[in-house]
Structure formats: structure tokens, C-alpha cells
């Protein structure tokens, strides 16, 4: 007899959904999370230490001491972290680490809540575009039609606001969003007119935010600290205030935070029986369960599988095809900034309200593409560091006057580019470096496929065109160079497929070699769309968990 029916590892986007669906179906669930349960105050409003601007630290984990990773020096365009032989040793807030977050809710505690459905073409990229040399581009084994009902569930049950009538790049919705779009900030109105003048499609950006009171919580108060911070009104819908409380309210779920899963435990026959964990006091414990769901995020799920090798699977669980950890992808974020003659900033948060899907597909000579949207409110120091014109004065009275006159006139547009996966962009483990628990750390290597960089250059040019059409008198910015991408939008490391030689999980996200081991996070994404991934992660987790219940 096992301790629990199911153990879910990780309380972020995917793990929250899995725990809620399983617990509400009457299964006893243990939800394990390595990070803390962070209050609004604990997240804080430090403009130099947050998940959006992590200059000296961040605010949603993991702790910057004791959680290192290593990376090949040439995987990143600038020298990052500290030298460790030929490698670089990174702390979690440093560039190159590929962090999302570690706390109850993970990234959803502090995210922007942009809530995008992928497009039908995003699920069949290889069929649409063929196979670029050196890439591992493939179709998903499921389609948009398989996902649509689960997108709708996420929209209604977790809570997404938007205007389905503007989502003209997608097949018609069966149901509108449950809440209207957020109010349009002044600058978004200007950018909307810019798009109209170009004849480019525009839409209202759907968000996991209560635009009006919903699910017993209040509506957004349009503050200036959305992306990178916790919501002062509790109107932003993350796992910590939606799916995790739902799981707990069912009476069937136990949440244990500050507990690190060290490895998956197996029987002599190789069946997964549970987990070994290390708690905050450093105590090691084991828990058994009939079903295991891994929701550690794409980087840490791969690490856990690789660190759980057995006699039967000596290179790691689910890794007989040498696929675990490959195809790491996230999103390149090309964009541009511009200076406008009139004040753009009106302080109405969150900010990103208007976008265009004109360039997600059908671009001559480009594989995929992405959407472009206007930006969430940018804090003063973030503007200074990321969006300041390269030729403007940086010090002296002229610089002070420039900030004073133009902080509210500088505005940027940007968006995620669909990355073309490379099998060499990879998570492995580094047995020579251990974290504070004594567990071998993640080692990162490789880079994105060159086609990603080409798409990003193309989108950078479109961003400049849009800004000029919106009335910018001057635009600037550079397209990104080639590097290893993952980060907050990490995905792809345990790809979904029919064949265990080329994928890690089956079309219901079950690890091929096991009948009781599932993955519910960004790892199974075969490709990651030209959209922020979280609604897809949640929808896929819903489908996976529902199927686990159905087949129990």
C-alpha cells in the first residue's frame, strides 16, 4: 500500500493543474515544492532584485546561494558567472542559468499572465516547413483540436480575460473568455492605430488576470508592478491562488513546500515507487505513490530523470533513446524601442494590451515567426538598463534632463519568436558539482538553431516598422545573437511523440518506459509556439491529469 495515490513534484503552472485535477477526482495527492510559500511582502518590490530585473538577485527563487548550474562557455555570447575549468559556474539570477522560479506557484507567482493559445500550425511545424538542417523540428503527436477544449477549461476555470472576437488568427472559439479585456492604456491605443495604419491584424492580449471580480477574488487595480512582482489585489491568477488552493480545498491534497526531491525511487524490477526528498532541515525522507507526476519545469524535470538512474535504466529514467534533456528551447525576444513626440505612459498597468499575430506564420523564407505586442509597464531602472537610446547621454545634467523629459515618451514593442529546436541545446547533469542538498547540478550546453536567429532578425525589423507607424521619431535596438535559450519560457526537454527512440513521453505525456510516470510541465512541448507558453502548459497538464484519472 502506497503512502499516496499520486505525488506531484513542483507546484508551478503544470504541477498546480495536475494536483487540482487529481485531488478533485478523489485521489490522495502529495504536492512537493522545493521553494517557499511566498507572501506578497516576501516577494517585495525591489527594482534591482526581481524576476524581471535580476541585477543583484531575484524575488521568486531559487535562493542564489547553494543552487548553482554549469554552462559551456560558448553557449552564451557574453562571459557569464565564474570560471570553473573550461566551464562557467552560474548562480540562479545570472544570465545563462535558464531560471524561471522556485516557490509555491513558481513563475506564476510573479508572471505577467499573458495567456496565449498556440496556433494550429504550431503543432505541425515540420509538416508546414520541412526539416531545417541540424534541427530536430517535428510535429506534435496531437493537434490544436485536441488542445482546444483544455484551453477553454483553463480560460474559464483558472480565469483569463480577453476578447475572443479579436483572435482572428485562430479557429473560432466555442466560448468567449469569461472576462472582458483589461482597459486599454493610452499608449496601447496609439500602438493599435499604428497597426491599423500598416494594415496589420491587431488583438487584445488575453491575460490570466481578473479584469473584473472572478472566482471569489477581486479585479485588477491597474498597478505598475505586474510582471516580476506579486499582485497587490490578488487579481493575477497563478497556481498559488487558483489550482493549488483548489487541490487543498478538496481535502485530498497535502502541500509540502521547501522540500527538494532528490530522486525517483524504483523497485528491483525498475518500477517507479516514489521519491526520496530532502527537507529544509536537511532530513532525508521517502514517500511512496502509485502514480508520479513530474512538474519541475523543463530544466529540472530533465535533471531529476537523469539523476534517478537505475540498473534497468543506467543513463536515466526514460532516457533509453538518449532524448532526456535535449531540445531545450524558450523564446528569443526581439523587439525595438522608440522615442515618441507625446507622452505615452499613463501608469495604467499591467500595460501589454495590444498585439499582432500578422507574422506568426507565412513569412517568406522564415520558419515560423512570432507575435509582437506592446510592453508591460517598464520601471525607471529597467528603462535605463534595457530601453535607453544608445546615443543618449548617460551622465551629467543632460542625462538627468533626458530621463526627466523622456521616461514617459520611450516605449517598446517586442514578442517571443518560435525557436527552431536543436538536439544539441541540452540539459545534462554535472556529477562533479553538487547543490546545497548534495545533488549533482544541471549542466547546460549547445545553442539554439541558426534559424531562430534569422526569425528574430526578421521580427526585429517588423518591430521597428510598427514603432514608426505608431509615430516614433526615432527607433533603436539590436537583433539578438545566437545563444542557448530556455529561461522563463523553458520547454522541450522531454518531448512528446509516438516513438521512444525519438521522444520521452507518449501523446498523453506518460514516460514511454513506465506506466505510472507522467510529465506535466513545459518539457513535453515538441515546439514552443511563437507565444508565451503558460496557457499551453496548463492546458496540456489538464489533459494529462484527466487522462490519468480516466485510466486509473
Amino acid at each position: 500500500m502506497s503512502d499516496y495515490d499520486a505525488i506531484v513534484v513542483g507546484s508551478g503552472a503544470g504541477g498546480g493543474v495536475a494536483a487540482a485535477v487529481l485531488a478533485e477526482a478523489g485521489k490522495s495527492v502529495l504536492l512537493l515544492e522545493r521553494g517557499r510559500n511566498l507572501s506578497f511582502e516576501a516577494v517585495g518590490r525591489d527594482h534591482l532584485r526581481n524576476q524581471r530585473m535580476p541585477v543583484y538577485g531575484h524575488n521568486a527563487g531559487p535562493d542564489i546561494d547553494g543552487n548553482p548550474r554549469t554552462i559551456e562557455a560558448d553557449s552564451f555570447p557574453i562571459l557569464v558567472g565564474q570560471a570553473l575549468g573550461d566551464l562557467r559556474l552560474l548562480r540562479p539570477h545570472e544570465p545563462g542559468y535558464q531560471n524561471n522560479a522556485a516557490c509555491v506557484g513558481s513563475g506564476t507567482r510573479v508572471y505577467a499572465g499573458q495567456a496565449w493559445r498556440f496556433m494550429p500550425q504550431d503543432f505541425r511545424m515540420a509538416s508546414e516547413y520541412g526539416l531545417p538542417k541540424g534541427s530536430s523540428l517535428a510535429d506534435w503527436p496531437i493537434t490544436y483540436e485536441d488542445m482546444a477544449p483544455y484551453y477553454e477549461k483553463v480560460e474559464w476555470e483558472i480565469g483569463i480575460c480577453g476578447d475572443h472576437r479579436t483572435m482572428t488568427h485562430l479557429p473560432a472559439y466555442d466560448r468567449p473568455y469569461p472576462m472582458p479585456a483589461l482597459p486599454l492604456p493610452h499608449k496601447s491605443g496609439i500602438h493599435k492605430r499604428g497597426l491599423e495604419s500598416l494594415g496589420w491584424q491587431w488583438l487584445r492580449v488575453p491575460r490570466l488576470i481578473n479584469s473584473v471580480p472572478y472566482n471569489d477574488r477581486p479585479g485588477c487595480i491597474n498597478c505598475q508592478h505586474c510582471v516580476g512582482y506579486a499582485c497587490p489585489a490578488d487579481a493575477k491568477n497563478g497556481s498559488q491562488n487558483t489550482t493549488v488552493p483548489r487541490a487543498l480545498r478538496s481535502g485530498n491534497c497535502t502541500l509540502r513546500a521547501e522540500v527538494m526531491v532528490e530522486r525517483l525511487d524504483s523497485s528491483d524490477g525498475g518500477r517507479i515507487t516514489g521519491v526520496t526528498v530532502i527537507d529544509a532541515a536537511g532530513e532525508r525522507q521517502t514517500y511512496t505513490a502509485d502514480v508520479l507526476v513530474l512538474s519541475c519545469g523543463a530544466v529540472e524535470t530533465a535533471r531529476l530523470l537523469l539523476n534517478s538512474a537505475t540498473r534497468h535504466e543506467p543513463t536515466g529514467i526514460g532516457n533509453s533513446g538518449d532524448q532526456v534533456g535535449r531540445n531545450l528551447q524558450g523564446h528569443y525576444y526581439p523587439g525595438a524601442a522608440g522615442l515618441f513626440p507625446d507622452v505615452m505612459f499613463d501608469g495604467v498597468g499591467p500595460g501589454c494590451s495590444i498585439a499582432t499575430c500578422e507574422f506568426n506564420h507565412g513569412n517568406d523564407g522564415i520558419i515560423g515567426g512570432g507575435f509582437l505586442g506592446d510592453e508591460d509597464i517598464v520601471t525607471p531602472i529597467t528603462l535605463w538598463k534595457r530601453f535607453y537610446p544608445p546615443d543618449a547621454p548617460r551622465w551629467g545634467i543632460e542625462a538627468k534632463r533626458f530621463m526627466r523629459d523622456n521616461f514617459r515618451r520611450i516605449n517598446d514593442v517586442t514578442g517571443p519568436v518560435q525557436e527552431i529546436p536543436s538536439p544539441e541545446a541540452r540539459v545534462t547533469v554535472n556529477p562533479r558539482v553538487k547543490d546545497k542538498y548534495g545533488i549533482p547540478v544541471v549542466h547546460l550546453s549547445g545553442k539554439t538553431h541558426p534559424e531562430t536567429v534569422r526569425s528574430a532578425r526578421f521580427m526585429h525589423e517588423r518591430a521597428k516598422e510598427w514603432l514608426l507607424a505608431s509615430g516614433a521619431t526615432k527607433v533603436w535596438g539590436k537583433p539578438p545573437p545566437r545563444y542557448l535559450s530556455g529561461g522563463q519560457h523553458q520547454a522541450g526537454t522531454c518531448r512528446m511523440g509516438e516513438d521512444s527512440a525519438t521522444s520521452v513521453v507518449d501523446p498523453f505525456c506518460r514516460v514511454h518506459s513506465h506506466d505510472n510516470l507522467f510529465i506535466a510541465d513545459g518539457s513535453p512541448h515538441v515546439t514552443n509556439g511563437g507565444f508565451n507558453p503558460v496557457e499551453t502548459i496548463m492546458a496540456l497538464a489538464w489533459r494529462t491529469a484527466e487522462n490519468i484519472v480516466k485510466r486509473w
Binding site: G44, R45, D46, H47, L48, V55, Y56, G57, I221, N222, C223, Q224, H225, P232, A233, V343, F345, G347, G349, T379, P380, I381, W384, K385, R394, W395, G396, I397, A399, K400, R401, M403, R404, F407, R408
Partner: protein
Amino acid sequence: MFEHTQMKCLHALLDTIIPPDDYPGAVEAGVGDYLQRQLAGDLAESLSSYETWLADLDAEARAVNGTDFADMTPRERAELLTRVETGVVKARWSIEPAAFFREIVEHCAEGYYSDSGNGGNRGGIAWRMIGFEVTG
């Protein structure tokens, strides 16, 4: 951390990077406090570079003007820093003058424009100046 002459030099430097006008300069806005805190924490490894760079700046001021940097007029200080920024120096610097100046400018902006919880932007004065209002 810094002894008296170093502190004088640092404050004169910060107020040349973000000078007072009808809004406070760097020092009055608390950027000195921001830096003290950072140099005892996240930027501890930069402390010795700061000390060296400030000493070199004073040496440069003496070579050019015959006085310490802090005793120059604001206009003279700005002119001197313009030369430092482009690497045109008279004294023998033991640290690359221009590159570290850029770092100091960045730290100064961090103190001035980030949240006052970090020690600078006292009372939110910098945000008031540029029009970043926090409503919720």
C-alpha cells in the same frame, strides 16, 4: 569604508554624474547611501576598484587643475570626466579609467532610479521627477 577625502571625492563625483537642479542631485537623493550599502554587500568585490579609481581621479584633477577633484567647480569636474570617459588622461591611472567610470555611472543610476528601499531615490524623488507614479 571610505575615509574623509575619499568620501568627498566620491560625493563630488556622484553629483557630477547626476547633478542637482530643481530636483536633488545624486547625493541628496541618497545615492551615497545606496553605494555604501552595495559596496558592503553585492558589490563588495568592487570596493578596492572604487578606492583606486577615486585616488586616480584625484591625481588626474591635480595634474590638470592643481586641486583635488572635489575642489573643482561643477563645470570643471564635468569637463574632466568627459576626458576620462574618452580615455584622454594626464595622470598615470592604475585602473582603466573609462571602463570603470561606466560602471560607476551605472551604479549611480541604480541608486537614483530604483526603489527607495535600496537607499537612493529618497522619498521617491527621482520617480516624481520623471513621472513614475505608484498607485497600487
